[in-house]
């Protein structure tokens, strides 16, 4: 019998939620690392009990942990993230040059074929790799030193590399997204990169269709169609059908196309989920209603999923790494809010139940399907 484990990172610790394949009864373990901000926890697809966790604190800096038993116990691993050479500048908020400075790990992406290899997306934006299960980290500097990187400027959340996607059909092809810089693709395992932002239009930058400078919030892929990517941008939901060579908008009838999360159904690559947020000035769900929107046609036509979700007096946000799907059929969909609720659906979003209601603000949610 399969089971599901949902790894939740919050402002004050990590939690592990587990259930059998019915997904009706849940066990909540935690907090792990109480008091620490947990930006991301993710398991290896090769060995699902191998977990990596990123802890961060304004006081104490970056700490990394690894678990070999699905989060029951943890050990500290390497927390040294050194940029190669002397880092050049990016733009600061006032337009002046500002040297790249490591601040924290936003996202962990374990390799698809080696449990000891894991990528880390960090702030200030760069990509690191560990090939020894997190003991040591080295930069893949090609992205940070891209010719456009001196013009990248942080958004309010920082100059963070928050999305890493490895093409399951070609592990040398990696996608990355950086807030306020855009989407990028490498075809040589992260050595060199190029922007893939054609078709993005952002009215909040001087040149709305510039090569870089777009505030990409999240990208998602279905493994069966690796050339199709879905994007939630600062404003606009978009899709590419050619591995990022060009994008087109699929916002359609969404009540607002601002948001952070986006994900794809585990079995149907055309079924996509977003969670609209009111605006860039007002980071809460619209009209006091918590609504996931689902498209079964790859975008443009969206339906509100509301059953089991609060439809009045709800004013929470859902952050970019805080939605995930499991691999069961029917597909389980999970998301966490800044109000500390983690909601789950065991029927592809048709109805929802709160798994846990009163956690600290949720930063990340990752679902694992266990044999």
């Amino acid at each position: 019998m399969s089971s599901v484990r949902v790894l939740v990172g919050t402002r004050k610790g990590a939690f592990v939620l587990s259930s059998d394949e019915s997904r009706r009864e849940w066990k909540v373990d935690g907090p792990h690392f109480a008091g620490w901000e947990i930006y991301h926890v993710k398991g290896s697809p090769v060995d699902p009990d191998r977990l990596y966790a990123s802890q961060s604190s304004s006081w104490f800096g970056q700490v990394m942990h690894r678990s070999e038993d699905g989060g029951k116990t943890w050990e500290t691993v390497g927390n040294q993230f050194q940029y190669e050479g002397t880092p050049g500048p990016h733009k600061w908020y006032d337009g002046s040059p500002h040297p790249y400075e490591f601040k924290r790990v936003w996202h962990l992406e374990p390799s698809l074929d080696d449990a000891d290899t894991v990528y880390a997306g960090v702030e200030d934006a760069s990509l690191f790799i560990s090939k020894d299960a997190g003991a040591s980290w080295s930069e893949l500097p090609g992205l940070r030193t891209h010719k456009t990187s001196t013009d990248w400027a942080p958004g309010a959340g920082g100059l963070c590399l928050h999305t890493i996607i490895i093409d399951p059909s070609n592990h040398d092809r990696i996608y990355a997204a950086i807030s306020s810089a855009g989407a990028f693709r490498s075809d040589d395992a992260g050595q060199t990169w190029r922007p893939i932002n054609r078709g993005l239009r952002s009215e909040y930058i001087p040149d709305p269709d510039a090569e870089t400078g777009h505030c990409v919030h999240r990208i998602a892929m279905h493994p069966s169609q690796p050339n199709v990517l879905y994007m939630q941008k600062h404003w606009d939901v978009l899709r590419t059908d050619d591995a990022g060579e060009s994008w087109h908008e699929i916002s359609g009838n969404l009540p607002t196309d601002f948001g952070f999360v986006i994900d794809v159904h585990a079995q149907d690559p055309k079924t996509v989920y977003v969670l609209p947020i009111t605006s860039d000035q007002y980071h809460v769900v619209p009209d006091g209603k918590l609504r996931v929107y689902r498209s079964k046609s790859g975008g443009d036509e969206w339906e509100a999923l509301t059953k089991g979700l609060p439809q009045k007096d709800c004013y929470v946000n859902v952050l970019r790494d805080a939605m995930s799907v499991d691999g069961l059929d029917p597909c389980g969909v999970y998301f966490g809010t800044t109000g500390g609720q983690v909601y789950g659906s065991a029927n592809s979003g048709d109805s929802w139940e709160p798994i846990v209601r009163d956690l600290p603000a949720v930063l990340s949610v990752e679902a694992q399907t266990l044999p």
Binding site: F33, A34, G35, W36, S57, S58, W59, F60, G61, Q62, V63, T76, N79, Q80, Q82
Partner: protein, 98 residues
């Protein structure tokens, strides 16, 4: 034996209580004390001082004997009551929050 008081988050990380004990050889300084602390509790590497530059993290303070040692040279001798273990060396997170 030198007694070092850790803030809550570092107790969680190091798996200790509030107070830890350290043997520091020679004439102890803040630098040699923190070096010894990181050797005994490797999980704390980089959390109190930058792992490379060894500079104090900006939002941490070092107190002892009712004095703020945060900006004192790390190579100055520690106060005698800290060395003899009658006063703790306190590592403190700066006050913040609401």
């Amino acid at each position: 034996m030198i007694h070092v008081s850790l803030p809550g988050n570092l107790q969680t990380l190091a798996g200790t209580g509030r107070m830890v004990e350290l043997e520091v050889s020679g004439a102890p300084t803040q630098r040699s004390l923190l070096d010894a602390l990181e050797v005994k509790y490797p999980a704390l590497l980089g959390t109190i001082r930058d792992a490379t530059t060894k500079k104090r993290r900006p939002l941490l303070r070092f107190y002892a004997c009712e004095e703020d040692l945060s900006d004192v040279s790390p190579d100055d001798p520690l106060p005698a009551p800290v060395v003899t273990g009658t006063e703790p060396y306190i590592i403190l997170g700066a006050i913040a929050g609401g």
